[in-house]
Amino acid sequence: MRRYTVAAMGPALYTAVIRYWVLMLPRPRRITVAPVVALAIISTTTALVSVAPGADIEAGRRKAEACLPCHGASGNAITPGTPSLAGMPAFYTHWQLIMYRDGRRRDVQMSPFAVNLSDADMADLAAYYAGQTPRVRPVEIDATRAVAGRPLAQSLHCGSCHGPQLMGQNQVARLAGQDFDYLLKRLRGYKAKTTSDLDGMMTMVAQSLSEEDIQNLVHFMAGAAPTPASAGGDGR
């Protein structure tokens, strides 16, 4: 099983990307999974960033300094297992913070942090992160698994809620280019019914997944490039 690193694109990659992502032709084996250009071309979504009324992005930037050690500059984390918040729909980040504060989602680091947040803090933070440009996380993607994950994601209708480019919308998370270990942890958690779930949808969907399916999905999603055009948008 070969492993490839997500890297910068060259002309050859561009061609390969167009072949696979636009023309849907069989993918050659030796390419990296970083379809930035093609996705930017086929992305026609013009979306609005929906934030809570009264949210202050500038205040959010200041408040986010406390989050920087884990979630990284501009919300692009580098620690495996920690999600990037850049380009997350504001409703999503806001709901997750509420769930941490209410104890419906638990984490050793996040729970004590969220307890002290006011509704305004949450709105400001969520609005700030929604406006940041997400970057793909450095990770080794197994091309074979990523190719297997794509039709699986289609058959699971992930795009119905997460959007056609998996960039999330409203209360639904961005998956494209998200941290590999984090996606793995969350999907395994949904399957085990131990991960918080706003409306029960993900727990239901994950029940049919095998560990093999989860691996394939995560290779596909972590390797999909985030498309800034629809970052944080609601698309609806």
Partner: protein, 403 residues
């Protein structure tokens, strides 16, 4: 000859069965889409229509555009209480506490009068869509997705609610359309919905109905069958008979089918889902070989996709006499329609021997695609004014009448 023909029929049936098995085999791994998207025809696969998401925080009273609401002459509306994210069904305690349920917020709130000022307390957290509430003999009944629970002596313990006791456990596994209303019947039983766990499907035998149990959880009975998703019900103040609303299926057109008001004067009637919609049109798939005449028709078509929810008869004395015993229906949709409609309160006048009269009471909650408010559930103040929850803004409005 006859033998040959029946052999032919059997062969055709066998071939069809074979094709069916093959088609299942080829679609192995294909999952049903999310429940709200299910039943969407392929040509609408890229439709931007989707249910309106609940915002993460309530809107402060000062920012709710309540002045957009238009009412009949003499009526006025104001924000009665705010700060209750995702506010849904309301129920009065016997000591003057208003309890408020929610869906995705997972909270139950209590609004109490504290030396002349209204105070909102979050009394329960982290429940699974505690949309339906009812109160009896000091206990708060809460309908969540998995079960019906009650909190004894709740009003004396708002700051430290007792552990709940499970009154009744709902049939398992289904979440979609199984956030519930609760309504006390004239028989002292608690009525609730168990919706179809899909947009359009053959529901499990346990679902797509209105049912009831005794207050202690015994005596479960189905009351009405073939009900896709009822979100509100009440009993006529004079006849004591059950009236309930139901949401029609999605993705079958902007103007079809109508959401409906039903009258169930006896238990056991079947109202058509999934075979027949709005009493007169068979479903394109499930209606094959069935006829709408097999089912009890709706009493009234309410409009397509308007999402009727709060459903209450007026028995108070504040509103003008012509409103007495009229049914008020709050409508929090539409989403599955290219041009929005609904977002209003209607009344239904049910005079014996006359067709129901369906009239606008409150409108203005949307202008084009802009939504200003979402009328959700209705409760009555002791003085006869109306309380109306809005699960988008997380607030409760009061509608009063003054001559």
């Amino acid at each position: 000859m006859r033998f040959a023909r029946s052999t032919g029929i059997i062969l055709v049936v066998l071939l069809a069965l074979g094709a069916w098995f093959l088609s299942l085999g080829s679609s192995e791994g294909q999952q049903p889409p999310p429940a709200w998207k299910q039943g969407q025809p392929p040509e609408l696969a890229n439709s931007p229509l989707a249910p309106v998401p609940a915002p993460p925080t309530p809107t402060p009273a000062a920012k709710i555009p309540i002045n957009k609401v238009k009412l009949p002459s003499g009526f006025s509306i104001n924000v009665w209480a705010d700060g209750m994210n995702n506010a849904r069904q309301m129920a009065w305690g016997s000591k003057g506490t208003l309890f408020v349920g929610t869906r995705v917020a997972g909270n139950v709130y209590a609004v109490v009068d504290k030396s002349g000022k209204r105070e909102v307390k979050t009394i329960l957290k982290g429940l699974a869509q505690p949309s339906g509430l009812a109160f009896k003999d000091g206990a708060l009944y809460v309908a969540t997705i998995p079960n019906l629970v009650k909190y004894e002596n709740i009003e004396a313990n708002l700051d430290n609610p007792p552990a709940p006791t499970v009154v009744y456990t709902f049939p398992p596994r289904e979440t979609h359309h199984n956030w519930r209303f609760l309504a006390w019947g004239p028989d002292g039983k608690l009525y609730f919905n168990m919706g179809a766990p899909c947009n359009i499907c053959m529901p499990p035998d346990t679902h797509a109905n209105v049912s009831r149990v005794n207050p202690d959880g015994t005596g479960f009975e189905y009351v009405a069958f073939g009900v896709r998703n009822s979100t509100g019900a009440d009993f006529h103040p004079v006849t004591k008979e059950l009236y309930f609303v139901s949401h029609g299926r999605d993705w079958a057109g902007d103007d079809f089918p109508n959401d409906t008001l039903h009258h169930a004067p006896k238990k056991g009637l079947h109202f058509g889902y999934p075979y027949c919609h709005q009493g007169d049109t068979p479903d394109p798939d499930f209606g094959k070989g069935r006829s709408c005449s097999e089912f009890a028709p709706p009493l009234l078509k309410l409009g397509a996709h308007i999402a009727p929810i709060g459903t209450r008869f007026y028995t108070g004395n504040q509103f003008p006499p012509e409103y007495r015993n009229r049914l008020f229906i709050a409508q929090k949709g539409s989403w599955n329609r290219s041009v929005k409609q609904g977002y209003r309160i209607m009344t239904v006048d049910l005079k014996p021997g006359q067709p129901p009269k369906y009239e606008v009471f409150a409108e203005g909650c949307h202008e084009g695609s802009t939504v200003h408010c979402r009328p959700t559930h209705i409760e009555w103040m002791p003085d006869g004014s109306m309380l109306l929850s809005d699960d988008y803004h997380g607030a409760i409005y009061q509608i009063s009448y003054k001559r």
